[in-house]
Symmetry: C2
């Protein structure tokens, strides 16, 4: 085999850029990488392993000679083009939320449920960034003692809202440092580009990610609830989330409370984490060692620390879980799905 | 009566400065304000209602002509001088943690337990900033349906660590925007001046406030646990906290899960909050209305929003609670205690 022909759809975005980097580092046999993006990027150049790749416009025929298509260009593009890609014989790994809850589409975190890949029908969904790192951290606990209940509060980075949102945060921050009045700060995107009102994030915390939905939870919060149940194959796990954007560029942090089915000691949890795939244990309070967003940048692991027993609930545990939202939360998990498909011999299967 | 003679101990700090502002706005009868601070500030000038106040050095005799002494100069100063102030006939309102758990010292949030002031023996403790706003938000719920359990994750502003920490965050932030490598950022104070290691807070989240203590919880987390039980007069309430510093200058945010003893609807909680003393309800998801740290700056209220039912637990509620940590969390609560003592006729009592 000469290697796979891979398409990146949304190649110039915050995630697309990282997808190319992750493919550069990948052990996947790669014959060719092709890059697709919106009209105003067509003709521009990106690089894959020092080779120029010209950005192309996306049409259904784009997928004729493609084996794997990694989508990260928004739900509407996935809706329009994913089935076209499958029709032309490509396997789609989709980073948007569009297909995640489709019962015919596996939703995969390789450390947790790679077996689900066997049932794929052409499209595989990459979970939401904040869900993925929580799954990596909690799966070892679930396997050992079961999980009854999860309560999570997130501290999410702005790069999850795209490259323009990062620029907006940096502009606002400079405006603050220059002592410009708040009304002169650039405030056009956050908390959510598609919503009505926009608020500054610089030196602020915004308890809204994505738009509001049922029962006054945001879509981001429902994603964490519903995706957890699907990935862990357990509709009975109680999950609830409060999702908050903070002025961090890269690296999501999560304060997680978990109630297990059976009792487990903190020392046992630490042992589990040391052995767990994809986890890096950073947990030594005596040395002030705990996961930090800034330290997670450009790392593929999920960092777990501040593990402690609830003072009142025998089966209650608290954890602090951090990961690079653009890598394990998006680009790396997508490329890791591709690598896993290859290892499991499921491409051209 | 000519009004009270009031001493501010720690008058040049982040909180002391705000104490003077709060006294300027207060309806308390005030005859004189005197300001005390550390050696390097002695002789400098602050202003109270346009009148110059020269900073003095603190000695036991400083309190001879003082009725009320507001302390915010660190636990060691409170330890050394609070009893001297009482000996000289002053009432001490102490903003440090030094006396908070002393059974002879009332720990007071006026909206919750002002009756405790009647038992004071000269010293009254102001609770921890993160505890105060949680108490203001939860007391109306506790009174109506009782509270079984609280799980809180905080998003705390850097001004809680003092004026130098604010400067450090701003310097680090400018270094980031100037694209200086992280190792060149000024990192001498945060997360905790008295601890061994220091980490950058700019574009980061640090899950450590104060030093580590028993069972790998930080002191800040134990403060929220123990102070809640003392203020609410209920040792059976289950409380647990994860305290996190984020790159915000002023305004603490909290993601709070509360399990009540009896069932209550979200609409009833909103009604309670509308009527509650010291609370400002900001909760309309359809209009993207929710509390924000930036909007809380220089406001005395505690802002409550994102009120919603837990999807699985019948008596479970989630809230997002924000308040200015320097005002309700410190200076305003202290001055409010002074006003309440006056109203209850407990000064010179």
């Amino acid at each position: 085999m000469k290697g796979y022909r891979i398409a990146i759809v949304g190649a110039t975005g915050a995630v697309g850029t990282k997808m190319i980097q992750m493919l550069e580092q990948s052990t996947l046999p790669i014959q060719e990488v092709r890059a697709f993006a919106s009209k105003h990027s067509v003709g521009k150049t990106v690089f894959f392993r020092q080779k120029k790749v010209i950005i192309e416009a996306l049409v259904p025929e784009s997928f004729e000679e493609i084996d794997l298509a990694l989508f990260s260009a928004g739900g509407s593009i996935s809706k329009e083009f994913a089935s076209e890609a499958v029709k032309h014989g490509a396997i789609v790994i989709d980073n948007t939320s569009y297909f995640r809850m489709d019962p015919n589409v596996p939703l995969v975190v390789p450390e947790v449920n790679k077996e689900d890949l066997k049932k794929h029908q052409g499209i595989i969904a990459n979970p939401n960034c904040s869900t993925i790192q929580m799954m990596v951290a909690l799966e070892p606990i679930r396997q050992k003692v079961g999980i009854e209940r999860i309560i999570v509060s997130t501290y999410q980075a702005v790069s999850g809202a795209g490259a323009k949102a990062v620029f907006e945060l940096e502009q606002q921050t400079q405006s603050y440092l220059n002592r410009l009045p708040k009304k002169e700060w650039q405030t056009d995107i956050l908390p959510c580009g598609s919503d009505q009102k926009h608020y500054p994030l610089a030196f602020n915390a915004l308890p809204q990610i994505d738009v509001f939905s049922e029962d006054d939870y945001t879509f981001e919060e429902w994603k964490m609830i519903n995706e957890t149940k699907k990935i862990m194959h357990d509709q009975t796990i109680k999950v609830v989330a409060t999702c908050v954007r903070i002025p961090v560029v890269q690296g999501h942090s999560e304060s997680i409370y978990v109630e297990t089915k059976e009792k487990i000691d903190v020392s046992e949890v630490r042992e589990l984490m040391e052995k767990a795939s994809g986890v890096c244990l950073e947990d030594d309070p005596s040395q002030q060692i705990y996961p930090q967003a800034l330290n997670s940048v450009n790392r593929k692991e999920t960092f777990v620390g501040r593990i402690r027993k609830d003072p009142d609930i025998e089966k209650g545990l608290h954890l602090w879980v951090v990961s690079d939202n653009l890598l394990k939360g998006a680009a790396w998990n997508s490329v890791q799905i591709a690598e896993t498909l290859h290892e499991m011999n499921l491409i051209h299967g």
